[in-house]
Symmetry: C2
Subunit: 189 residues, 2 copies
Amino acid sequence: MTTDHRALELIERLGNLLREEGRQGMSGALAPVHWQVLAYLSRCNRFSDHPVAVSEYLGLTKGTVSQSLKLLEARGLVARRPDPSDGRRVRLLLTASGLRAARAFPPAGAKAALAGLGARTQELEGLLHQLLQSLVRARGGRLFGACGACRHLVRAPSGLSCGLLDEPLTDHDLDRICREQEPSHPGAE
Amino acid sequence: MTTDHRALELIERLGNLLREEGRQGMSGALAPVHWQVLAYLSRCNRFSDHPVAVSEYLGLTKGTVSQSLKLLEARGLVARRPDPSDGRRVRLLLTASGLRAARAFPPAGAKAALAGLGARTQELEGLLHQLLQSLVRARGGRLFGACGACRHLVRAPSGLSCGLLDEPLTDHDLDRICREQEPSHPGAE
DNA sequence: TGTGATAGTAGCGAATCGATACTACCCGAT
DNA sequence: ATCGGGTAGTATCGATTCGCTACTATCACA
């Protein structure tokens, strides 16, 4: 009865340790949240590089994200551009140093620990993903999966495209995470 | 090459979601860290109910923990007592309402999501634990495992005891997490 | 006795973060 | 064509986190 929370405890504790490791890593001027924002921006596709997407992905309010972005912009890691197709929106992009910072994550210790798992990493990923999926579903949130596993993906003879946004997709797009993604079949990434 | 971080991303994201779910749960006056402190205090044994232990477990500095405890004490969730055997130490204990609050964690959504995994929960726990272990080892931290799986556990005819602290242990102690714990064999919980 | 390590607190400053309030813009319906 | 609801983003405020430094008290050991 009490034992079934063990996994949740572990996840929280691992999250804490990862966060803290990021904090005292090099260029320590960045808070954990900032690393996460940079990591997200380096992984998301061009339909998901907006402040709202960041706030949904990280589970923060828009106000909070707006502040963090202000700081990141002031440090030259992130740039803002107006979205030509929607005047309300702002598109975020990593600067050269922002990209460099994002690549420096996760820190060495965490990577090494993960490597120690060897082949079982896949297994862990699968389980975590399944857990995330049901948690997100219960909260009515978005999953932020890759286009390659999305039910909106259209494979036409003329090429790939997104059926929801009606936009052509390149191979490069398929791996990036998207705010609108919905799994094409249960359990897909 | 880039794929091997996927699991770390998932852990961080799940950690965020869990934290946020705790924040907006009932009696929302508590910050996520406070929940974690309460949860820890409800799970630790009598050799580990000190502020330093909390700070090591959660990966925070003692100063930070000291402040959080001050707040928790002001709200009547935690009480302090001097340790009779060591004048420097303070022993922490949950009040009745503190215990009630700790039991209300984790929130329903997370529990339901975990239940969805079914029997594979064990598997997930094992993998996470292994990951935690190597991460902690790399950082020179402490594992905080249960006495039942500790190499200092002595099973004498007179009963159980801790060989390191030279203290008798009851059955009830075996499940509680201890700051001094070292696994009795690689992979043990 | 004294020297160093450990436990805990206090105060400072920067940053997170939610809440609220506000502006700007899009879109659909009347 | 304009009205209204919904969405995107920002600004401000106050409470809290959190690392840092500095400080005291206690223990352990020589």
